[in-house]
C-alpha cells in the first residue's frame, strides 16, 4: 500500500462538525449534536480509504464535511496541499472541480427536471470555457466511461434504473477530472447484483484516472473488497484505522471485533461456528455522548479508566491505529503520516 513515495492527498485533522439543537419557546440553543467529533486521517493519492460504522455514527456527515458541503465547527482539511477548512463559499468554488462526491440516493441527488446531458455538462458550463460541441463530446465521453448508452443523453433521471442513475451520478462527478471523490454509500440503495457492477466500475475508473476515494459504507464485505485502508467510526470518532488486511484479520478495538463478528460467512460450516459478539444497549445519543470513551457504555471489555478518560489514537502496530485503553500507550505518539495524536489530546483536554 504505502509505496516508495506515498503522497498524501487529503489530510484531515481533528475535524469537528457539531449541529446546534434549538428548542423551547424562543428556540434557544440548548445543545449540539456532535455528529463528527475530532476525526483525523490521511488519504494517500490513488488509494481508497474505507469509512465504516453503523447508522448514525457520523460517516456521511464526515464525508460531506471533508468536501466542505457543511461549514465545519473546527478542524483542518487540506486537499492537495490547499487548506479548505476555513475557506468561504466563494473561495471554495474554484476548488470544487478537484473534489467531487457520489451520493447515496441516485434518484434524489439528480435534478428531476434536467436531462442527463444537462446534469453532466452543468459543471462544465460553470468551470470551463468549452464550446457547445466540445461539451457535447465530453458528455458522450463520460457516458461511455461509465457504461451508459449515448442515446440516453436527452432522457430524464426518472427514466433510468437505480444502477443507471448511479452511473449518471458518477459521470457527473467525473466531469471535471477530479482527484478526490467521496463515495457516500454509493451502493446502499442498489440491488446486490448492481452493487457489484457499480463497485467494479468505481475500481476501473480509479485505475484509469488515478482517483482517490473516501468510500463510506456500512457494508463491511464491500469495503473489504474495495478499500486499501479502513477507518472504523463510532459515535463521531474514529475507533480504529488500519490497512484492510490487518483490520479484518486482527481487529484490535472491541467495537471493530463486534462489528466484524456480525458479518455473515458465505461458507455454512464456518457460519455455524461463527461467534457473534452481541453488543448490549443502544448507541448513545450524539447530543449527549458518555463521559470517557464513547464506547464505554457498550464495550464488553470495559474497564474503570474507560469511564474517566477518552483514549487517544495511537499506533499500536505500523500503520495500525486504535483508540482504546486496552492498548496502553507504551510507545510515544507518532506523527508518521497518519494521525497527529497530540493535536487530538490537546483539544480533548480543552473540553
Amino acid at each position: 500500500m504505502l509505496d516508495d513515495t506515498p503522497r498524501t492527498l487529503v489530510k484531515v485533522r481533528d475535524l469537528k462538525m457539531h449541529f446546534p439543537i434549538f428548542a423551547g419557546l424562543f428556540r434557544r440553543r440548548v445543545g449540539e449534536v456532535k455528529a463528527v467529533d475530532g476525526v483525523s486521517f490521511d488519504i494517500i493519492e490513488g488509494e481508497t480509504l474505507g469509512l465504516v460504522g453503523e447508522s448514525g455514527c457520523g460517516k456521511s456527515t464526515c464525508g460531506r464535511a471533508v468536501l466542505r458541503l457543511y461549514d465545519i465547527t473546527s478542524g483542518s482539511i487540506s486537499i492537495d496541499g490547499q487548506e479548505i477548512g476555513d475557506a468561504g463559499y466563494q473561495k471554495l468554488r474554484p476548488m470544487r472541480p478537484q473534489m467531487q462526491m457520489v451520493f447515496q440516493d441516485p434518484q434524489a441527488s439528480l435534478n428531476p427536471r434536467m436531462t442527463v446531458a444537462r446534469i453532466i455538462s452543468e459543471p462544465l458550463d460553470e468551470h470551463t470555457t468549452l464550446s457547445k460541441a466540445e461539451k457535447q463530446e465530453r458528455v458522450y465521453e463520460l457516458m461511455d466511461a461509465v457504461g451508459l448508452n449515448r442515446d440516453f443523453a436527452n432522457r430524464y433521471p426518472h427514466e433510468f434504473s437505480g444502477g443507471q442513475r448511479q452511473r449518471i451520478g458518477i459521470a457527473r462527478a467525473l466531469a471535471l477530472n477530479p482527484k478526490f471523490i467521496v463515495c457516500d454509500e454509493p451502493i446502499a440503495a442498489l440491488d446486490v447484483s448492481i452493487q457489484a457492477q457499480v463497485v467494479n466500475l468505481l475500481e476501473e475508473l480509479q485505475d484509469k484516472f488515478n482517483l482517490t476515494y473516501l468510500f463510506i459504507s456500512h457494508d463491511l464485505s464491500m469495503v473489504r473488497h474495495i478499500a486499501d485502508r479502513v477507518a472504523v467510526m463510532y459515535l463521531g470518532k474514529v475507533a480504529e484505522l488500519a490497512p484492510r488486511d490487518a483490520l479484518y484479520s486482527k481487529p484490535l478495538h472491541p467495537y471493530t471485533e463486534a462489528l466484524l463478528s456480525a458479518v455473515p460467512e458465505p461458507d455454512p460450516n464456518v457460519e455455524t461456528r461463527r461467534e457473534r459478539i452481541i453488543l448490549r444497549g443502544d448507541v448513545p445519543s450524539p447530543a449527549h455522548p458518555p463521559q470517557g470513551c464513547n464506547f464505554s457504555t457498550r464495550c464488553p471489555k470495559v474497564m474503570d479508566i474507560c469511564h474517566q478518560s477518552d483514549p487517544d489514537m495511537q499506533e499500536v502496530e505500523p500503520g495500525h491505529f486504535v483508540a482504546c485503553h486496552l492498548y496502553p500507550p507504551t510507545t510515544k505518539p507518532t506523527t508518521k503520516n497518519m494521525v497527529a495524536s497530540e493535536a487530538n489530546k490537546s483539544i480533548q483536554q480543552g473540553e
Binding site: 476548488m95 441527488s109 428531476p112 430524464y156
Partner: protein, 335 residues
C-alpha cells in the same frame, strides 16, 4: 398530451351540463320571487301576469332547456353576428336580465373590464409580491425576514378584506386624503392626469386584494422552496461548484415553481368571479357587484348565467393547471 387535452375537453361537456342543471335547480328551489320588490299597489293579478311573461309559468324542465338553448346557441350566435356582421341569430331569444330587461351578455361585457383591471391587477401584484417573499423566506428560514413575512402572511390571510378595505379607506382616504374612497367607473383615461387619477383610485382596492392573494401564494412558494432546498440534488449542485445564484434560481426555484404555478392557475377564475366584498367596499361595479345585486333582486337569469360562466372558467383552468404540470414536470406524462 394532445389526446389527453381533447379527452379532458370532451369530459368537460357532461360535467358542465350537470353543473348547469344543479345551479338551475338550486336557484329554482331557493325561495324568492322576482316580483317581490315591486310596489304593493300593483294588484296580484297583474303580478301574476308579470310572472307569466317572465316565463315562470312553464314547467321546470322546459325552462331549463330553454335557458340552455339561449345560453349555448343564441348567445354565441349573437357574438358571431356582431363580429362578422352576419344574421344567424335574428329572431332568437337571448338570455334577458329581469332587472334591466337587457341581454345578460351585454351587461357582463360592460362590467368585465372593471373587474379585470382591479381584481386582475391585484392578482398580478399579489403574485409579484408573493414570489420573492416566499423565495427569500425559505432561503433564510427562521430569519427576521422570514418571521416578518410569516406574520404579514398570517395577517393577510386571516383579516377579512371588508376589514382591511375599510381600514385603508379610513386611513388613506378619510384621514390622509391621498386616495379617493370610491372607484369611479365612468372615468376615462385620455391624458396623463387622468392616468394618474386612475392609478390613484386603483391603488387601495388592488392593495387590499393583493395582500390577501400574496399571503396565500407566498406560503405555497415558501413551503415548496423548503421542500426542494433540502433535497439531495441541491447538495449535488453545490458540490458541482455552482454559484449560489444558480443553485437557488435554476435548481431549486424551477422545481419549486411546479406546484406554485398550479396554485396560481387555479386562482385565475377567482379574478373573473370578482371580489364580491372588495368591489362592494370600494364601489367598483364589476362582476362581483353585479352578482350580488342580481341575487338581491332575484334576477335568476343573471345569477344563473354568471354562476355558469364561473363554472366554465374553473373547469377550464383546472385543465390548464393540469397541462402546465405536464409541461413543467418531465416525470408526468398524460399519454
Amino acid at each position: 398530451m394532445f389526446t389527453y387535452t381533447v379527452r379532458r375537453l370532451l369530459l368537460a361537456i357532461p360535467t358542465l351540463l350537470i353543473i348547469s342543471l344543479i345551479i338551475f335547480l338550486l336557484l329554482d328551489l331557493a325561495p324568492g320571487d322576482p316580483t317581490a320588490q315591486l310596489p304593493l299597489t300593483i294588484p296580484p293579478e297583474v303580478k301574476e301576469k308579470i310572472r307569466q311573461s317572465l316565463g315562470l309559468g312553464e314547467p321546470i324542465h322546459v325552462r331549463y332547456f330553454l335557458w340552455l338553448k339561449q345560453f349555448l346557441v343564441a348567445e354565441p350566435l349573437h357574438v358571431f353576428d356582431n363580429l362578422f356582421g352576419t344574421h344567424f341569430a335574428d329572431g332568437m331569444q337571448r338570455v334577458i336580465s329581469w332587472q334591466t330587461r337587457s341581454p345578460v351578455a351585454d351587461i357582463v361585457a360592460q362590467r368585465l373590464p372593471q373587474t379585470l383591471w382591479v381584481v386582475g391587477m391585484s392578482y398580478v401584484v399579489g403574485v409579484l409580491i408573493a414570489l420573492p417573499i416566499g423565495i427569500i423566506s425559505a432561503y433564510k428560514q427562521y430569519s427576521w425576514f422570514d418571521q416578518i413575512g410569516t406574520f404579514i402572511s398570517m395577517l393577510g390571510f386571516s383579516v377579512p378584506t371588508f376589514f382591511t378595505g375599510v381600514l385603508l379607506i379610513v386611513i388613506f382616504a378619510v384621514n390622509l386624503g391621498w386616495f379617493p374612497s370610491i372607484y369611479d367607473t365612468t372615468h376615462v383615461v385620455d391624458s396623463w392626469d387622468a392616468f394618474v387619477f386612475q392609478v390613484r383610485q386603483m391603488i387601495m382596492p388592488v392593495m387590499v386584494l393583493a395582500l390577501y392573494n400574496a399571503a396565500q401564494i407566498s406560503r405555497f412558494m415558501r413551503a415548496s422552496m423548503l421542500d426542494n432546498l433540502g433535497q439531495d440534488y441541491v447538495r449535488t449542485a453545490r458540490a458541482k461548484g455552482m454559484s449560489e445564484k444558480v443553485v437557488v434560481l435554476i435548481h431549486v426555484l424551477r422545481n419549486s415553481m411546479i406546484p406554485v404555478i398550479t396554485v396560481i392557475a387555479l386562482g385565475v377564475p377567482q379574478i373573473f368571479g370578482g371580489a364580491i366584498i372588495t368591489e362592494q367596499v370600494f364601489k367598483v361595479n364589476g362582476l362581483g357587484q353585479l352578482l350580488i345585486t342580481a341575487i338581491y333582486a332575484n334576477d335568476i337569469p343573471m345569477v344563473q348565467t354568471l354562476t355558469f360562466i364561473f363554472a366554465v372558467l374553473i373547469v377550464l383552468f383546472n385543465l390548464i393547471a393540469d397541462i402546465l404540470y405536464g409541461i413543467l414536470d418531465p416525470r408526468i406524462r398524460y399519454d
